[in-house]
């Protein structure tokens, strides 16, 4: 069976203009470098990393909301990297998104029914009445009363808005959902509700989810597989339990060490490292930052079944 979403060698770089020059001079800022990632059907994959590591850009590229500089995106085995808007449209219906900021994710001038019905309208599914009916059904399905259909987003709480955003993303019955930190703006109790909702809907619909987050405890409870991003690259990838028990890459280790633990005895062997310290340890990182020519290329090397991490190959 083909994977729901595959990213092959995805890169994104931005030209940076030197502001003080007489003539425009550009440097390249490489935000995402050579990302390979597979989201298998009916599975949840976590993409973790600190802010600025390129995980959101990767998600946006997968959605073709940001154009990749190089690499390929495959949805259900079909290459959509270079597709024109018209050819892409059916694939857009197969891949939807939920954003972090639920407030700006919903058009303030639309009622909730309009918001959830919009995907059906854009894809011309059913009559206007059927679209509204389906939208109200979906509001109910994500735990909001049907009468909320005539309300406006600003009347809702953050958790309720995120439910609406999920309903909008799933109303087209997509195969893939890209969830870009959907819970990081929510209270802990609400967070759990939204996670439960996503889990239930995933199981019911056989959905594949790319779950982008920096919240490792959420990732551990929700995902089947985790990829760790650092400075635009995937530095380690493995089945969730495997990576939490046997992290290989120094960055992954320091990331895991940063999770608060309840039992003081467990804290003994935790190490907190400064970024400088970390960078010295991570293959060739400083060379990339200063734009020096690449020394031996770091590669993802296998470490047991389905577990890869980045290291220098001499």
């Amino acid at each position: 069976m083909t994977a729901a979403l595959e990213l092959r060698g995805l890169c994104k770089s931005y030209p940076l203009r030197d502001p003080n020059g007489w003539l425009p001079r550009y440097r390249e800022l490489r935000v995402v470098r050579d990302v390979d990632l597979t989201v298998e059907s009916n599975s949840i994959v976590g993409l973790v990393g600190e802010s600025g590591s390129g995980k959101t850009t990767t998600g946006m590229m997968a959605l073709r909301l940001t154009e990749p500089t190089a690499g390929r995106i495959l949805v259900g085995g079909q290459d959509i990297t270079r597709m024109e808007a018209a050819a892409l449209k059916p694939f857009r219906a197969k891949m939807q998104v939920v954003f972090q900021d639920s407030y700006s994710a919903l058009d303030p001038m639309f009622t909730l029914a309009q918001i959830v019905a919009e995907p059906l309208h854009v894809h011309g599914r059913g009559s206007a009445r059927e679209q509204t009916e389906t939208a109200l059904d979906w509001l109910e399905r994500v735990g909001l009363h049907r009468s909320y259909g005539s309300r406006y987003p600003h009347e809702l709480s953050g958790g309720q808005r995120q439910r609406v955003a999920i309903a909008r993303a799933l109303v087209l019955r997509p195969d893939v959902l890209i969830a870009d930190e959907p819970t990081s703006a929510l209270d802990v109790s609400v967070k759990a509700q939204i996670i439960n909702l996503l889990q239930d809907l995933q199981a019911e619909m056989g959905l594949s989810i790319l779950f982008i987050s920096h919240d490792l405890s959420v990732v551990r409870s929700l995902t089947d597989k985790v990829a760790v991003m650092f400075n635009g690259r995937i530095v380690e990838e493995a089945a969730t339990e495997d990576i939490f028990i046997r992290p290989q890459h120094p960055y992954t280790r320091s990331l895991l060490d940063a999770i608060p633990v309840l039992n003081p005895r467990d804290r003994r062997d935790r190490v907190f490292r400064s970024r400088e310290d970390l960078e010295a340890d991570i293959p060739r990182l400083s060379a990339v930052a200063t734009g020096l020519p690449p020394a031996p290329t770091p590669r993802l090397i296998p470490h047991g079944p389905g577990h890869r991490y980045e290291a220098l190959v001499q």
Binding site: A93, D107, M109, A165
Partner: protein
């Protein structure tokens, strides 16, 4: 999916309030704006029903024998130098002033919205071109250019609307552009893009509805600008040609008589001042109500 439908507060118990409802509440709290709006409505009614509240047409020289007469019970605002009832002239002057103001504002909005939307949504080259055009308009003062244009093509009612619109769109365009630039990075626009909605659809259904506030503000604030432009041009004799009653024109005439026949200068001056003031106060109030972040700008 079991207990989700019974979440606290899941059943709404109040009627829905659109964002405009809150704008209305803020507007009503602003006394100056409400008074301005009321005066404006009164002026509009006066202009619309002008034939019913005046005793003679504005161009009829029915009272030549009483030319230059001071205000009296028969002629509330007196009689002008050519024997016309001055009250009719002032009332019909409101027609000219307001209709020019509104038409020019419509014209400004019609040019300003599409250009602002295009510049704001596409940025890059289109934005650069639009901004250079605006830069040209901002180093050429509208009044001077209008005088030149008016003098060269001979003024006239429609010409003034055209000129006022030509300079009025800049403000609308900048307001719409700024709003769309701010909104197009929002996640709901990204979500619509992820749905495969076309740029035209996104601009029409999401970005322009979210720009109603700046559009309304731009529209209302373009009205007094156009009225001032008309009055200024007519005052200089390159605006609406006589005998059409225009306040600017009347002020110009009044100037030569003001030492002896004060009413010819006072009434048109007051009429213009009150109308422009009322419209501006109303517009400012609308702006503050619709977009509290713009207050005082």
């Amino acid at each position: 999916m079991t207990d989700l439908t019974t979440l606290p507060g899941a059943v709404p118990d109040h009627r829905q309030r659109s964002p405009l409802h809150f704008a209305w509440r803020r507007f009503v709290a602003n006394k100056a704006a409400v008074v301005g709006g009321a005066v404006l409505i009164l002026l509009i009614l006066m202009a619309v029903f002008a034939p019913l509240i005046t005793k003679s047409p504005p161009t009829a020289q029915d009272f030549l024998g009483e030319a230059l007469a001071f205000p009296s019970a028969g002629h509330w605002f007196g009689v002008d130098d050519l024997g016309r009832d001055f009250f009719s002239r002032i009332v019909y002057g409101a027609r000219v002033s307001l209709s020019i103001g509104f038409s020019a504002a419509v014209f400004s909005v019609l040019i300003g919205i599409p250009l602002g939307a295009l510049a704001g949504y596409y940025e890059g080259r289109i934005d650069w071109i639009v901004m250079r055009i605006i830069e040209i308009f901002s180093v050429v003062p509208p009044l001077l250019a209008a005088m030149l244009l008016g003098a060269l093509v001979g003024g006239g009612y429609w010409m003034i609307i055209f000129i006022a619109g030509l300079f009025g769109w800049v403000q609308v365009c900048l307001l719409v552009r700024a709003q769309i630039k701010a909104f197009k990075e929002k996640e709901f626009v990204r979500a619509a893009q992820a749905l495969g909605a076309s740029p035209g659809y996104i601009i029409r259904r999401h970005l322009i509805p979210n720009s109603v506030s700046p559009i309304i503000v731009g529209f209302v604030l373009a009205i007094p600008l156009a009225m001032m432009l008309e009055a200024s041009l007519s005052f200089l004799g390159v605006g609406v040609p006589p005998p059409t009653p225009s306040w600017g024109q009347m002020i110009n005439t009044g100037m030569s008589f003001m030492y002896f026949y004060w009413h010819l200068a006072v009434f048109p001056t007051l009429a213009l001042a009150v109308t422009v003031m009322a419209t501006t106060l109303f517009g400012d109030g609308l702006r503050d109500a619709l977009d509290p972040t713009l207050k005082g700008k």
